[in-house]
Symmetry: C2
Subunit: 213 residues, 2 copies
């Protein structure tokens, strides 16, 4: 698939594609060769018509009465989602969460290549975590080019998130993956992905209460 | 605040409350005593009218020309969000991501108390991670009551997610925090919170491409 000619896919659809990929990969491992949107729907909480529509954005179409070719579909989804490309990233903040994310090999499998950590704690600077060097945050701007870092993962305390985001964008990093519950503002050319796992916790706690009531 | 009489708050609003909390906590640490929704709005990507509306769901109202009492607001948000209560949880799957989440002390700070890990790998069963014992997945049902586990955190390979979710709900666990990209189905009385960090990666990669184009 030619990157420059990738179709526009709405964000909710993009968010569902990895579910289909996980489902399809399991089927491929189980030896399934063809699959219908109905069969995928049976595994997930998604209508088969929605699945067919989402996949049609990618120009992936099933054959009547046969369905989708499982290998082609898996390949097409991985390509479209960017999981087959390497994206260099730096980890800003190597406290508990940052360290945890560096040790998660799943990120590597999905194309994220963490090349360095940065921290302000002198006790951490100069150490390494699973072979990833930890540098002083002040060095980020000068090291960014050499590291070819496209993405900064922000795993600092929430009250440092705004300041750290500014340091990253000043260094020329155009994508911030924000794990703090702080809602970062940046200019329009910067991609911000919020993954506040603590905010998800709050939503879960709240729905648990509603169901118990 | 009386739990039984908690107001109904729409999910998008709940998702924003932790941002306000992070912002307010920083202000309180900085010695601010009163804050307006406009001042909060200046820190976040949210309209001040939206902030005032979200907070009014919690029956928190600011005073004209003075604003919100920062300490009361922080307390009210923490209480409402359940971050001040302990919620016992088990970690299903202590591979790379599960182990990483166990080591993240941030979860503890937001009320999540991981009491045990479960895995099918005999090499892991009987070990412990940061003092948390790792047990055989087959023991979950018999141990659930003793552990007082309300939540199962699912951090297994995506192709095991459906099976593991069934084991958890069969054991009587009513809340699943799903970190796999697999979209779990369960009966209506089960709360499912999907936090597929790999799906977020896909959305971020995609938006990065759009901005480069």
């Amino acid at each position: 698939m030619d990157n420059d000619k990738q179709p526009y896919v709405p964000e909710p659809a993009i968010g569902r594609l990895p579910w289909y990929l996980a489902c399809i990969s399991k089927m491929r491992a189980d030896g399934v060769e063809y699959v219908s949107s109905t069969a995928i729907s049976n595994q997930l909480n998604v209508d088969s018509s929605q699945i067919a529509k989402d996949l049609s954005y990618l120009n992936i179409k099933g054959k009547t009465r046969i369905g989708y070719d499982v290998r082609q579909l898996e390949e097409g989804l991985n390509d479209f989602l960017g999981f087959h490309r390497r994206h260099n990233a730096v980890m800003i903040g190597v406290g508990s969460l940052g360290r945890a994310l560096i040790t998660d090999s799943g990120l590597q499998r999905y194309g994220l290549n963490i090349v360095a950590g940065f921290d302000v704690d002198p006790a951490k600077v100069g150490t390494s975590i699973e072979g990833i060097p930890v540098c002083a945050l002040g060095e980020l701007a000068s090291m960014k080019e050499k590291l070819k870092a496209e993405i900064a993962i922000i795993a600092v305390p929430a009250n440092k998130a705004a300041e750290v985001a500014r340091i990253c964008t000043d260094a020329g990093i155009k994508a911030l993956w924000n794990f703090t519950p702080f809602h970062i503002k940046a200019s329009e050319d910067v991609t911000i992905q919020n993954t506040s796992i603590y905010a998800h916790l709050a939503v879960m706690y709240n729905r648990m209460k509603d169901k118990q009531a």
